[in-house]
């Protein structure tokens, strides 16, 4: 028995390392899970991208669920994600709010004019302060906020049609069910 022990220890180690490889393959290793899920979204009031004299705040949006998509004209992955939003946003049945993050408003406007605007409303967070409140650390990120203003889901990275079907839609259904 004690002769087998080192061999068993060896196989246990191999198993552990194998598990590590499997885990790395199935998880985004530099993804930081948000502590804000299940918590009220931060209070925000941000100027509208197309009319900076007006603003949109969390209070304006209370009462029904909505999505916030954090993007920037400088963001390569956002450019990749953009056609997905163009194709899918209107089918989701909830408002999609664009948050132009750390992006001069003129650049965001030019970007949306060039490629199309998938958003119901776009707000500008040019200095990135509200991004920090939301715990944003890289665009694109997408938040699902329910009717009570609580963050229910967050996607770090681009939304793909597969992700929308497998993750976002079930979450949307749940949020809708909870909405009276």
């Amino acid at each position: 028995m004690s002769r087998l022990l080192p061999l068993l220890a060896f196989f246990a180690l191999v198993g552990l390392l194998g598990f590590g490889i499997w885990w790395n393959k199935h998880h985004e290793m530099n993804e930081v899970p948000s502590p804000l899920i299940g918590k009220p979204a931060p209070e925000f009031t941000l100027p509208l991208l197309y009319d900076s004299a007006q603003s949109l705040s969390k209070r304006d949006l209370l009462g029904k669920p909505y999505l916030i998509n954090v993007f920037g004209s400088w963001c390569v992955t956002c450019h990749e994600e953009h056609p997905v939003l163009m194709a899918e946003a209107k089918k989701l049945g909830v408002p999609l709010i664009g948050m132009a993050w750390k992006d001069p408003p003129a650049d965001s406007r030019r970007w949306l004019e060039k490629f199309g605007n998938p958003y119901d409303q776009v707000v500008s967070d040019a200095d990135g302060r509200m991004g920090i409140e939301f715990g944003v650390y890289g665009a694109p990120e997408t938040f699902l906020v329910d009717a009570q203003g609580v963050i229910r889901y967050k996607r770090i990275g681009m939304l793909t049609p597969e992700l929308i079907a497998s993750e976002l839609k079930p979450q949307l259904a749940k949020v809708r069910q909870a909405t009276p």
Partner: protein
């Protein structure tokens, strides 16, 4: 040989020292040296979310610059280091802290090394005991007659 090694070591060392003091530089208006030192110490304990193996003091990522500004503003608002860390943890998780806090979720991280050392110590103890016993047995055998073929389990 030694004549060459010493200057080389010195050069490498001084390089290290230079690197240690080369922070990402922002034109932040510190009011005095003490405030700057506190800021540097605090941001060195915080992780950059973009370049995840760099601290906030060191990182040149755009977000790191914003977060440094945020830390500076919080300091100016009179927040303590603990409150500033809490501010970031509330938004970005414990991951922003280089020093993970001790709580049920991190017990494995904190205590596994000690558990492994304990297991090793126990194994060592067992092996030593067995050897001691075998040695005693051998000496008994030697006294009794010609040595037997005693195969020791030796690992």
């Amino acid at each position: 040989m030694n004549r060459w090694l010493c200057p080389l070591a010195a050069a490498l060392l001084s390089l290290g020292l230079v690197a240690a003091t080369a922070y990402a530089i922002d034109p932040l208006p510190f009011k005095d040296r003490a405030e700057e030192v506190r800021f540097q110490q605090l941001t060195r304990q915080l992780r950059c979310l973009v370049c995840q193996n760099q601290d906030l003091a060191d990182s040149d990522a755009d977000l790191a610059r914003d977060l440094r500004k945020q830390v500076f503003d919080l300091m100016r608002e009179g927040k303590t280091d603990a409150e500033i860390k809490q501010f970031l943890v509330a938004r970005y998780n414990d991951f922003v802290l280089y020093d993970p806090p001790l709580k049920p979720g991190t017990w494995l991280l904190w205590f596994t090394p000690f558990a492994l050392v304990a297991i090793g110590a126990l194994a060592l103890l067992r092996i030593l005991r067995r050897r001691a016993r075998a040695a005693v047995g051998e000496s008994v055998l030697r006294q009794a007659g010609p040595m037997q073929n005693s195969e020791e389990e030796d690992w």
